[in-house]
């Protein structure tokens, strides 16, 4: 599978039609940059500084999906994330210091250091309900959340993020079918970053057309350019509106590219030479920044100031994390049962 035809631009017009003003566009850029810089820092803390341990999966290259979808959500909407969840959490305003503390395994982490990177996106206070480290196991859980929303006549729509590899799991199939028959308010966001670990999607997923993997359950399904925050945002708005009206689930196949390795230690030796280059100018941040400049929404200087601000925030997050204590081992038994 190759990159979407020839996007180098993003759908700023669509955003404006949706009433997204320049301030909000800059807000999206900020979130995307926060994610990018956070992940770069994480990579450094693993590979250069050797301060972090255990598996960690970066969101670099996929920022437009989390930011596009979650900017379109209402604050009561609920999110099921996964092991590649830092980006989802930041997009949802989970303070970076809590995320970083979790990566350090500290008591101030989102999971008090008991979860780690793969579960760091759990933060119910911001509607980040759960993040599993098991591929697609969040799908049926999201469907159950949607059942609860519908049954209690709440207005919440549930967003569940999973990868292209997740499409081949029994959990996805059973969950999507249930959402289909029960017509539940859940949006399946498949982040197709072209790889499941070292295996390309095409080699493992038998469908002429991947959107059929949603459509087969009678779920309205759409393939979108996941590196275009505008497209993602407006498509999500639509799906959210449908769900809120009681018209059931949607399946959004978001085409993107995992610029880095699968996990922080993976050097992607299996990627065909040159493949990544084809995605450089499709990078979601590069594209958004370009449009912002072209439309004179901000100057280079504005963005540099933003970058400096973000860098400072991340620096503080790291400091916060490093200073945070660990939970006492003898306290652990308190967390087994409520």
């Amino acid at each position: 599978m190759t990159a979407p035809a020839s996007f180098t631009d993003i759908s700023i017009d669509k955003l404006r039609k949706e009433g997204v003003d320049d301030v909000r566009v800059m807000g999206m850029l900020r979130k995307m940059l926060e994610i990018r810089r956070f992940e770069e820092k994480v990579e450094e803390l693993y590979l250069v500084k050797g301060q972090l341990m255990g598996p960690s999966h970066l969101y670099i290259g996929q920022e437009a999906i989390a930011v596009g979808i979650l900017s379109a959500c209402a604050s009561n909407d609920l999110v099921i994330s996964n092991y590649r969840g830092h980006g989802h959490a930041i997009a949802r305003d989970v303070p970076m210091k809590y995320l970083m503390a979790e990566l350090y395994g500290r008591a101030d982490g989102t999971c008090k250091g008991l979860g780690g990177s793969m579960h760091s996106a759990i933060h119910p206070a911001k509607g980040m309900i759960f993040a599993s480290a098991i591929v697609a196991s969040g799908v049926p859980i999201a469907v159950g959340l949607a059942l609860a929303s519908k049954q209690q006549k709440k207005d919440d729509v549930i967003i569940v993020f999973f990868g292209d590899g997740g499409l081949n799991t029994g959990a996805f199939h059973e969950g999507a079918n249930l959402a289909g028959i029960w017509n539940l308010p859940v949006i399946f966001v498949c982040e197709n970053n072209q790889y499941a670990m070292g295996t390309s999607t095409a080699a493992t997923t038998a469908s002429a057309n991947l959107v059929d993997r949603g459509a087969v359950y009678d779920i309205p399904s759409k393939k979108i350019d996941g590196n275009d925050v505008g497209s993602v945002f407006v498509t999500a708005k639509d799906a959210l509106a449908r769900a809120r009206k009681g018209n059931g689930p949607s399946f959004l196949l978001c085409q993107t590219y995992r610029s880095k390795g699968h996990g922080v230690y993976d050097r992607s030796e299996y990627k065909p030479v040159g493949e990544a280059d084809g995605w450089i100018d499709r990078d979601p941040i590069v594209r958004l920044r370009k449009v912002i400049m072209e439309n004179r929404i901000a100057t280079d200087g504005d963005i540099s100031a933003m970058e400096a601000d973000i860098a400072a925030d991340i620096g503080k997050a790291v400091e916060f994390a490093q200073k945070s204590p660990e939970v006492d081992f003898r306290e652990l038994s308190k967390y087994v049962y409520v």
Binding site: G144, L145, W182
Partner: protein, 332 residues
């Protein structure tokens, strides 16, 4: 609240009816309670426990599902996270092997691995069909698996009275609870008060007092142990029978106290002997009661074989009342 005495009315219900009564009461009392599972609606449940519920509570509360065991447990987790109190049914314990990732890797660990942020108040009801000629794939009983899943509570009611009281508590509990029923018991009868009562999870119950031998029995074998005790008393052997009821968390106190008195222990459970509940309990006695033992613990369990279909062979396979009687005799 938790004594198993006659309520005066002498009302007898079957185990299945007692379960139904608990579910019915919880559905009535708490709008957050919903049921989900295969054929629990118009079919009335494979063993009629949910008969008539669909008509009374409607499809929003009594949800017939596809044959999707992963999604049944997964959706129950999600529903619990979303504020409901789902009771999911897995028709046979054998099929729980399909959903065990959701139950053990997700539900059981959620509270812990979120640093206490999440709670998952849900019940998975299931049943084992040993003794009904259901063959190797529809008779399995492997409760000890779930001892390796801290965070999950595991309940095994042995009488209609207990079934009702424990199911009510399981539904009200804030943790995920695996509630394992026994098919051979569904038609057994016992006293069940009509009013609501809850029996605490995590309390072993002394079902019969005695001084010579302690028998810890699980599920179906509690009744067999009690009948064995009656037989043995005529031989002058005074047996104490303990039903743990909840095997996780497991209340060892009455068991250790009993062994302190009797010095002799028989454990009787329907799972396979190697790595089963008997082994688990025996090893806890090793930790806390070794010095009280006057003889090795006898661990009565199913042999380490898949379950044969032939009704005659299945009978030979199963722990019997006679086995319990012999084991107790052997110890004194």
């Amino acid at each position: 609240m938790s004594t198993s005495s006659d309520d005066g009315s002498g009302r007898q219900l079957t185990y299945a009816e007692a379960l139904r009564e608990a579910l019915y009461a919880e559905l009535k009392e708490d709008p957050a309670v919903i049921l989900m599972g295969e054929d629990i609606g118009s079919y009335g449940g494979a063993y009629r426990v949910t008969q008539g519920f669909l008509e009374e509570f409607g499809p929003q509360r009594v949800c017939d599902t596809p044959i999707s065991e992963i999604a049944i447990v997964g959706a129950a987790i999600g529903a619990a996270l979303g504020g409901l109190r789902p009771v999911a049914e897995i028709m046979y314990m054998d099929f729980l092997t399909i959903s065990v990732e959701q139950l053990v890797v997700e539900a059981a660990k959620m509270h812990f691995m979120s640093g206490g942020n999440l709670r998952v108040p849900m019940v998975v009801r299931t049943q084992y069909s040993l003794g009904r000629a259901h063959g190797a794939q529809h008779s399995q009983f492997f409760p000890s698996w779930f001892l390796q899943a801290p965070g999950l509570k595991v309940v095994l009611p042995s009488t209609p009275y207990d079934a009702k009281g424990l199911l009510k508590s399981a539904i009200k509990d804030e943790n995920p609870v695996l509630f394992i029923e026994c098919n051979l018991l569904y038609r057994s009868k016992g006293l069940v008060p009509s009013e609501g009562y809850a029996l605490p999870l995590g309390k072993s119950q002394v079902k019969r007092k005695g001084n010579d031998v302690t028998i810890v029995a699980i599920s179906r074998l509690v009744t067999e142990a009690l009948e064995a005790a009656t037989r043995l008393s005529s031989e002058g052997i005074d047996v104490e029978v303990i039903d743990p009821q909840t095997i996780q968390p497991l209340d060892m106190v009455p068991i250790i106290e009993s062994i302190e008195k009797t010095g002799r222990l028989v454990i009787a459970s329907d799972d396979s002997k190697s790595g089963g509940l008997g082994a688990a309990i025996s090893s806890k006695v090793m930790d806390d009661g070794f010095d009280y033992l006057d003889a090795p613990i006898i661990n009565l369990a199913s042999p380490d074989l898949p379950i044969p279909f032939s009704p005659m062979l299945e009978k030979a396979y199963m722990v019997s009342q006679d086995n319990i009687v012999s084991a107790a005799r052997q110890l004194v």
